[in-house]
Amino acid sequence: MEYFIQQLVNGITLGSIYGLIAIGYTMVYGIIGMINFAHGDIFMIGAFVALISFIIFGLTGVALPIILLLVLLIAMLFTACYGWTVEKLAYKPLRGSFRLAPLISALGMSIVLQNYVQVAQGARVKPMQPLISGGLEFFKNSEFIVTVSYLQIFIVILTIILMGIFTYLITKTDLGRAQRACEQDRTMTALLGINVDRTISITFIIGSSLASVAGMMFVLYYGVIDFYIGFLAGIKAFTAAVLGGIGSLPGAMLGGLLIGLIETFWAGYVSLEYKDVAAFSVLIVVLIFFPTGFLGKPDIEKV
């Protein structure tokens, strides 16, 4: 039982990270109907920016909460630039083109970003000393002590806060309304005087910022990154988005949590080597029984 609770806590933490990345996929898919393959690499760049700023601020000796806040903002800012540029360079010229074109362009962009970081930062893994240590311990009398580290609490709380802000942004503000309108009908939205290009750009900026936060969490949580982390994390996050129903924002978060939980429970109870297989197998099974994911809108084909 204690072991179960420990895995649950770990799973929720991991799920928060996947969920934040998954939002970027699901938003972009919702608004322009493409799989943004480079999103995983945007997440990787976010992790690198966070790592670099942690090192810089680590030398100055500022208090920890201020460092965390500053790194968060810096990572979001710089990574958003990447998201924006990628959209401008690789996807915008292809809008209205046939379905596979942006996907191939995104694949190319993903290869470029990965190798660019490899060239600029070196291929070696980058370790970082843990910044937030310690934690709360439960069930001290039993054999297995459940530890909830402060870092895990930080990650989950930060995710909840960001989700709150984000939900407000999408449901209550003009920007969110414009975004949802673009999702439904881009031509009509443009006719009603909404700058569609700008709305799409902002979608990419928001998605990339959230991915960069996930990147920062990843650096803190695992303490080691390399240029290749984006691929697997990206695929799992996309799996999460599909699982929750692509295009649905609560679905992305739910899917992220599910993928995180499945992965940790699988690793804890079944087999560590095959933990990546678990996520994909679940995806295949879910898609067979719920072809549009858990919270997705049913897909009506029109002639």
Binding site: Y29, I35, I45, F48, V49, L51, I52, S53, I55, I56, F78, C81, T85, L89, A90, P93, S97, F98, R99, L100, A101, P102, L103, I104, S105, L107, G108, M109, I111, V112, L113, Q114, N115, Y116, V117, V119, A120, Q121, G122, R124, K126, P127, M128, I235, T239, V242, I246, E273, Y274, D276, V277, A279, F280, L283, I284, L287, I288, P291, D299, E301
Partner: protein, 422 residues
């Protein structure tokens, strides 16, 4: 150009510079390197300023001449002229290309390196043609094609090393295994819509790779399988000194021993395999099942209402595509004599899909051109090992941006309703 425009484009360039600074500043400018305990930062501002300067200059020049527009039009004019030529003279083009491919090993400038590159390009052409059945004809986006390539390579390697059967028996078996895997995967997932299918096939590719890494008893894990038998020339091995009671190739034909014999044989082997794939595809397009594929690609609902069973039709495309992937995999295994899961990563799938889409989906000639172009680019950058994948990815993006339908963009259905009216 008016003064206002110049000021405008100047501002625009400065903005580009600012963005470029934000992009390159942290990632390029602050290089992390580990020294003993922990990481340290080595600033590299020189490179950053160079890159930012280039961006500003490039943007300014583009604005000044609006280079981009003329370039796009001239580029697409060139390629559409080119595709029109290849369309009109498709037969001549194909015959010339095949003749060139046949005499290629005996041309004076052909050396070992050229042969290796040619074999690699032909392998990708074959994979491209195999995937073209799935993506180009049936319109199913398969991002896990490398899985079938891997299944083919591993089943060839395992059969050949365990039973010691010859290449010509193992090859069809490996193809069958791959086709079987295609059906196994395709059966549950082919009902899914395009993008879902893409991600599921991607997942399948990764699952196969993870199993190959972890299933030590059979696949020998990350160490891979070594000592895969080399192919023989219909029973005559390519060896300097053959075993007792065996005649080797050079002794039989009274030639002086050279390692090139084997390379040339491998070259012709893959050439023949690739041409078989091509011939098969061209023929099957004219059969009912091939027409059903193309019809499904264009309109699934219409197909359903006309009594075409979409799942079964897609399944045949998937299985046949997988089979050719398996053949290519066997060839890869026998050529390398060593395989490991390292060779079957997602990037391979991405390259094959890129070849099919960049070539212009469904165009057989396009696959050839795209393979030569993409593999050629990575070979040209061979000395700059680190930069070659950047060039590769960049080329993918650029071709898509300037020529979204691929190099050869005229995708015509094999048959038309009213004869050949254009």
């Amino acid at each position: 150009m008016e003064k206002k425009d110049i000021i405008q484009s100047f501002k625009d360039s400065l903005f580009t510079g600012l963005i470029a600074l934000a992009l390159f500043g942290p990632i390029v400018g602050l290089r992390t390197a580990s020294k003993g305990e922990g990481l340290f930062i080595t600033p590299q501002w020189g490179v950053v300023f160079l890159l930012v300067g280039l961006c500003i200059l490039g943007r300014f020049l583009i604005n000044l001449n609006s280079v981009r527009k003329t370039e796009i039009t001239s580029f697409s004019k060139f390629t559409s002229k080119f595709s029109a030529i290849t369309e009109d003279k498709a037969k001549h083009f194909a015959i010339t290309a095949i003749l060139f491919a046949v005499v290629f090993p005996f041309l004076p400038f052909t050396d070992r390196y050229f042969m290796d590159v040619a074999i690699m390009i032909l392998t990708y052409i074959m994979l491209g043609w195999g995937l073209n059945i799935v993506v180009g004809l049936a319109g199913l986006l398969d991002l896990g094609y490398v899985a079938f390539y891997a299944v083919g390579a591993y089943s060839y390697a395992l059969i050949a090393t365990t039973f010691g059967w010859s290449f010509w028996i193992c090859l069809p078996l490996a193809g069958l295994f791959a086709a079987f895997f295609g059906i196994l995967l395709g059966f549950p997932v082919l009902r899914l819509r395009g993008d879902y299918l893409a991600i599921v096939t991607l997942g399948f590719g990764e699952i196969i790779r993870i199993i190959l890494i972890n299933w030590y008893e059979v696949t020998n894990g990350p160490d891979g399988i070594t000592g895969i038998p080399r192919p023989s020339f219909f029973g005559l091995p390519f060896k300097r000194s053959p075993d007792e009671g065996e005649t080797s190739f050079h002794l039989f034909f009274n030639l002086e021993y050279s390692t090139m014999h084997r390379i040339i044989f491998l070259y012709y082997l893959i050439l023949v395999l690739a041409l078989i794939t091509n011939y098969f595809t061209l023929k099957i397009r004219k059969l009912p099942v091939g027409r059903a594929w193309e019809a499904l690609r264009e309109d699934e609902i219409a197909c359903k209402s006309l009594g075409v069973n979409p799942t079964n039709t897609k399944l045949t495309a998937f299985a046949i595509g997988a089979m050719f992937g398996g053949f290519a995999g066997s060839f890869f295994a026998t050529r390398q004599a060593f395989i490991s899961p390292e060779s079957f990563t997602f990037i391979e799938s991405a390259i094959i899909v890129a070849i099919v889409v960049l070539g212009g989906m469904g165009s057989q000639t396009g696959v050839v051109l795209a393979s030569i172009f993409l593999i050629g680019i990575t070979e040209m950058f061979r000395d700059l090992e680190q930069y070659r994948m950047i060039a590769f990815g960049g080329a993918m993006v650029l071709i898509m941006v300037f020529k979204p339908k691929g190099i050869l963009a005229n995708r015509k259905p094999t048959i038309l309703m009213h004869g050949d009216k254009k």
